[in-house]
Amino acid sequence: MRVSIEPRGEPSRWLRYGSPLIALGLTVVAATVLFSALGRNPLIALEVFFLRPVASLYGLSELAVKAAPLALCAIGLTIGFRGNVWNIGAEGQLTLGAICGGGVALAAAGHEGPWLIPLMVVAAGLGGMAWGAIPAFLKTRFNANEILTSLMLTYVAIQLLGYLVHGPWRDPEGFNFPQSRMFDDQALLPVLIEGTRLHAGVLLALIAVVAGWVLLQRTFIGFQIKVVGQAPFAASYAGYSRNRVVWLSFLVSGGLAGLAGLGEVAGPIGQLTPTISPGYGFAAIIVAFLGRLHAVGVLLASLLMALLYLGGESLQMNLNLPPAITGVFQGMLLFFVLAADVFIRYRIRFLASSARAPADV
């Protein structure tokens, strides 16, 4: 008896959409095992992790608040991943967006007007784009690996933010804490539902998802991105420019990540602090894959990933378990979805050990 993994005649349509669900199921199984190993009743722990955080209107609004930056980053990454462009520096682009948008808010203190928030949005988008433009330039001009350059720039961005809030932008009346002044009210994104933290940045995320869907499914450039990603030779034969796809991917994903950063500092946080994201830019990589590199999928996956963050907090509050568990589940989820995806194109066959089964035609 031997186990063999063989190509399917045709990719499985069912699994294409089913594999994220399988991955989620496997993650729940793993979570059950982990909770039991930690000496907690797994049923209660699962309820606390997956259900309790969203059992109220406030919980649902928090879900949207956390899903917004994830969706913004992931929709941009999706465009790149489709074209085989690996921007893994969304966290850095998010940070630059926060710095630029927040910088406008700090500079405008005392001169507010209705123009302020639009200006902050533009500054944040441009900041994220500029940070994304660096790996794009280095890739197209010098052939430098964009995975490494975009990631290195993330570390640079985080140090830059640290420098600003420890140095020139530190609140003079902040008891020496490394943080900027609080933004004025007019520099904060309006809250949509009274009594929650649901801010207008969530609408930006929804617009981005719709725009991403149109770009990927309904435009010629979306088609070109797909061809460049899946069939580079066909793409160059057809005259589609790989460099253009690299630039487009980085500018769009950088700009959207920048908006995500603004949504954090002008939303729930309200000032610049040394840490503005619990790794949204990295978690967005998982969201993009889990969402099948598709706009609608990304929306659903960002909600699920947001739930993992909320679940971690809920475990800490209710069962005194560390919220770091979220990171473990995130990593598992990506492993499981990558593994499950294999069976879209392959199937498992159990063969008698003596003879090789004939290949089916």
Binding site: I5, L138, F142, G162, Y163, F282, F335, L338
Partner: protein
């Protein structure tokens, strides 16, 4: 401090700071020579760091800690191996998954050890050599793990270019189809190469948590796994250049301290950017010469191979 003493201090600190990169990059070099790109180094280093620390705390033996870190790194790399080699998943995505998973898992496991003090690993002077002028204090009064990294360098260099097994491993990386046709177990050899890379990443992590800064802190590798990946490209897949590159980065990491010691004030956050900026610069310098990369990169790097396909 005289200039002579300063020079010794800089050389000593350079080797100290470069050592985790030597471990991680030499392992990744072997993995890539077999044709597998593992972007999970950062995750495997973190798993190694936390495992080494935990085992040292529990058993009181740093040697056991180091051993456990290597085993943990190898086990973590098996995740990458199983997915990319057996299931044929995308190597880039799988490596990213390993880094994300390793970051999360190490943070979770390490919670119990934040702030736990351990006795730092003791430096050992090599008898005889330690008394040489300049070289003695700079090179031969280090932690045992530093000497282990040199032994590893020698072993990898000899293995890859002076042994039959090394030749087979390189053949698997250059042309897996041909290696398979002659009858070599391509997938099995790649598994071993991946596990070797995992084990050395684990050692690099243990060096950080047991010797370099003897404590556990979340994300304490601070991107060294990614710098190690860049180093392999920078070295155009040659061991001696990996060693040189690792110490170059070690020097860049510590240069800030010496600038500060001279009374020149630069904010620490800006100095901390240096290794990352330097990584970008060297990548650009090396990558602009596409022929160099093509000549030296393993032919099948990052491409899946399976005998049934």
């Amino acid at each position: 401090m005289s200039d002579y003493d300063t020079l010794i201090a800089i050389l000593y600190a350079t080797v100290r700071a470069g050592t985790p990169l030597v471990f991680a990059a030499l392992g990744e070099l072997v993995t890539e020579k077999a044709g597998v790109l593992n972007l999970g180094i950062e995750g495997m280093m973190l798993i190694g760091a936390v495992t080494g620390f935990a085992v040292t705390v529990v058993t009181g033996s740093p040697a056991l800690g180091v051993l456990a870190a290597a085993v943990a790194g190898a086990l973590a790399s098996l995740l990458h191996g199983f997915l990319t080699l057996t299931l044929r998943t995308n190597q880039v995505a799988t490596g990213l998954a390993l880094t994300l998973f390793g970051t999360g898992l190490s943070a979770f496991v390490g919670l119990a050890y934040i702030g736990t003090p351990i006795r730092a690993m003791q430096a050992v002077a090599v008898p005889g050599l330690a008394d040489l002028p300049l070289l003695g204090p700079a090179l031969f009064r280090h932690y045992p793990l530093v000497y282990l990294s040199w032994a590893l360098f020698a072993a990898v260099s000899v293995f890859l270019y002076r042994t039959r097994a090394g030749l087979i491993l390189r053949a698997v990386g250059e042309s897996p189809g041909a290696a398979h046709a002659i009858g070599y177990p391509v997938v099995g050899i790649r598994y071993l190469a991946v596990m070797f890379g995992g084990a050395t990443s684990g050692l690099g992590g243990a060096y950080l948590s047991l010797a370099y800064t003897p404590q556990w802190a979340e994300n304490m590798t601070a991107g060294r796994g990614w710098i190690a990946l860049a180093l392999v490209v920078f070295a155009t897949w040659r061991p001696a250049r990996v060693l040189l590159g690792a110490y170059l980065f070690g020097a860049i990491t510590i240069i800030g301290l010496h600038v500060e010691a001279r009374g020149i004030e630069i904010p620490s956050h800006l100095l901390a950017m240096l290794p990352y900026l330097a990584t970008i610069v060297v990548l650009v310098v090396i990558s602009r010469d596409a022929t160099q990369i093509r000549l030296h990169a393993p032919g099948s790097l990052g491409k899946p191979f399976h005998p049934d396909d």
